[in-house]
Amino acid sequence: MNGWNPLRHHSIHTHIAIAFSCLILCTTALLSYSTYKLSSDAVTHNSLEYTSQLIEQVKVNIQTYISNMESIAALAMRSNDLQRYLKQNEPAFVKPLMKKQVSQYFNSIVTSRDDISSILFISDRGDEIVSNREQADFNSIAQIKEQDWYKKVIGTDQAYISSSHVQRIFRDEYRWVVSISRELPATDDTIGGVLLVDLNYKLINNLCKQIELGKRGYVFIVDPTGDLVYHPQQQLVYSQLKSEQLDKVLQTWNGSMTLGEGSDKKIYTVDTTSFGWKIVSVTYPEELVGNKRQIQYTSALWGIICLIAALAISIVLSYALTKPLKKLEMNMKLAERGDFDIRVEIDNTNEIGKLARTFNIMISKIKELMNQVVEEQEMKRVSELKALQAQIQPHFLYNTLDSIIWMAEMGKMEEVVDMTSALSKLLRSTISKGDELIPISVELEHIHNYLTIQKMRYRKKFTYSIDVDEDIGNCQILKLVLQPIVENAIYHGMKHKPETGHIRITGKRVDNDIELQVIDDGIGMDSEQAGTLLERKVASKSGNGVGVVNVDHRVKLNFGAAYGLRFESELEEGMIVTLRIPLLRLEGDA
């Protein structure tokens, strides 16, 4: 009917656990994936950011060094010592002294800074060299002049910044430096020349070497002509064991690019100094991937751990949730088998707790109702028995038979016949089996027989009349309910009345009910007594009321509390007993 449903046969416990697990699985997978994605993106981004910041820092540092050198060069050039030395018209004998002063001035600069390797000036006049060393053994001037820092600065008014190279000014000294040179053009009264400031290469080397870019990453510096100023594996590059994409680097001013394929993939981050050197960092995306793999592992691991934890918790939780339900179910099964003495002990305030409480209440109600039904059935049986007993009281039978005998002796044959036939009919209707409910007309017939007998027995004591509406004759009434009332009227109303009484039986329809009344004008009783007549559970010694109480009981049991007997009485005035029953037409009767 519902198609194929795999969960149909599983318990709520399983349902909850499966639902939780699915939910958790999806959530964890999603979370783990997004965590991984986010953090790996962050790692990549951060490392690029970090790299470019580092490069920027290196650039700023190197720029600072170089511009310091430039300003030192400018300072040296403008110095009085040098200016005086350059004067054309100074006499020749002061020249050595001035040269010495310049040398001392240069020396004071060099000794104050450890980043300067040497300062020297080569004058146009006779290729004289003035350096920071007063006593120096220079290489040949031709050799010195063929170096780039000299050749390339001639004719420019800009400072020339060389790549890193071995300085060969002093004999047998081969220092690694970066040279900054400037031409001092000759004027009318001064001679020209080239000023050189050598920056210790060690500085740049240390600056770049200390930079850590992952395990394999490194920094290199290339000058605008493609010469490597610094490279940690310069020799490998020259031996073609390694290659750098210098042409692409030289085309880039600032920014990052990824070059190479597969495991050779490198990220180049380039930044350019104001004088054209390019600071390049090389990082390996593989290392980032290595880092990514760690993130991958970690997020997968935690995902699995969370999953296991969540699964365990969901099983525990679903068990805990369904445990009271199971208990309830078990108790319900007991109730199903008829055990209504159970109580479900669930001290929760949640839905299941409420359910359990309701179940408990329901069970106790059912138990109560069951008891009530049992009790009522018992009472019905007893009262029926009593009713039966009431009709065939042996006393009544003996008395009637005595009356018949007595009348026979008197020769009143006609009366004997009447009484005997009435008794016969009375007995037949009493003993007759069959339905509890009989038509009113049949009951009235029975009363008529009964009154005939009684009237003969208590001659002259009372008269009677039956005045019941014809149309209710075929309505149903409980068997033998009127007789005890009439009997009561005779024994308690008529018997002790000196004059002849009258008993009237009426019957009519009132709304949807039927009211039958037995009205006598006997001695009666006070209204208070009459009101409590029915409350007496145990009949008085005189037997007064036993029958009527039983009648009332039977009527109420069969038709409900709204029906039954009502007594109205005044002392010496008589009594009206009203029997109210529902209007029940015989089946098939309109």
Partner: protein
């Protein structure tokens, strides 16, 4: 109340278990990630910081170690000639159970037994610069000495006319390096031109012996146009002799390896050329090869790191500057 307590206890046990599991798992993963380090012991001939050759080789070693994520321990004798100490060092190195040992053997034959021990201990052995008799090592990284010898003779072809006398001064007879260089040089001299070969002579690696040999040759052989020295001290001795006799305009020298003295001679024109090796590349390639061998890759049993002919003209090219004047802190 009691049921609440059991539940709390149950949950806390589950949580504890999960945390413990997570921690263990994390340790395993991080351990797995961190176990990539390879320990390599590098045993140069000497750790003397004044010997530039070994300093530069060490730079190459360090550079490759960084690149290939290897952990390097340096164990070296102070002086190049201490063979016994190197043997002792190697025995100590075996006890440290490294993944590989990079060795610059101080002796072609005497190191062989301990080298065999290294291999027997399951340690990858790589020789650098100076190999071992019998090719015990997984790979030998160094200059192709025959080729270097050839180069010394090649330069002379273009500078010396084909009927000149050319002398060759080698350093020792027993050294494989020396023999290889000599055979290379002789091969070229025999193949080209009509040279009259003088020697080979042996200087024993001593400047003075070399000087004496060269001086007597210079004095007695008027047709002598060139002298080839097959290692640094020998070459220096030759240069010194030429300088002292002021014969640089008639006789040129060609050498192998460089030193300050040789550079001076190059600049002064006494030395026509010198063939230099590439120690940085040796160190770098040795570590690279060691790492590859550890990783189980096939490595070439012989790796030539190349040599370079340096003349006065090209000595200051940006490329050669680095080789000739290595930047050593």
């Amino acid at each position: 109340m009691r049921r609440g307590w059991t539940r709390i206890r149950l949950i806390s046990v589950v949580l504890l278990g999960v945390i413990a599991m997570g921690w263990v798992g994390f340790r395993i993963v991080s351990h797995e990630l961190g176990s990539g380090q390879k320990t390599i012991i590098y045993v140069p001939k000497a750790i003397d910081p004044t010997i530039e050759f070994w300093q530069v080789m060490r730079q190459g070693v360090a550079s490759a170690a960084k690149e290939f994520d290897a952990e390097i321990e340096v164990m070296g004798t102070r002086a190049e000639v201490d063979v016994d100490e190197q043997i002792a060092l190697l025995q100590e190195a075996i006890k440290k159970k490294p993944k590989a040992i990079i060795l610059a053997a101080t002796d072609y034959n005497r190191i062989v037994p301990v080298a065999k021990e290294i291999v027997a201990a399951g340690i990858t052995l790589i020789t650098v610069d100076s190999g071992l008799n019998g090719g015990i090592s997984k790979s030998f990284i160094g200059t192709d000495n025959t080729d270097a010898g050839r180069r010394t003779a090649e330069i002379l072809r273009t500078h010396v006319d084909s009927h000149a006398e050319i002398a060759v001064i080698n350093f020792v007879k027993e050294s494989a390096t020396a023999m290889e260089r000599e055979s290379g040089a002789l091969e070229i001299l025999h193949r080209y031109g009509n040279y009259t070969l003088l020697g080979p002579y042996y200087s024993n690696g001593s400047v003075q012996t070399s000087y004496d040999i060269a001086k007597s040759l210079l004095k007695t052989k008027p047709n002598l146009k060139a002298i080839i020295g097959l290692n640094e001290p020998t070459t220096y001795g030759i240069g010194k002799a030429i300088q002292d006799l002021k014969m640089q305009s008639q006789v040129v020298a060609v050498g192998i390896d460089s030193s300050m003295g040789e550079i001076r001679m190059l600049e002064d024109g006494v030395l026509l050329a010198t063939v230099i090796q590439k120690p940085f590349n040796m160190g770098y390639s040795a570590v690279k090869t060691a790492v590859e061998a550890i990783d189980g890759k096939r490595v070439s049993p012989r790796i030539d790191t190349g040599s370079k002919v340096i003349t006065k003209e090209n000595m200051y090219s940006s490329e050669n500057q680095k080789l000739l004047f290595p930047f050593v802190e």
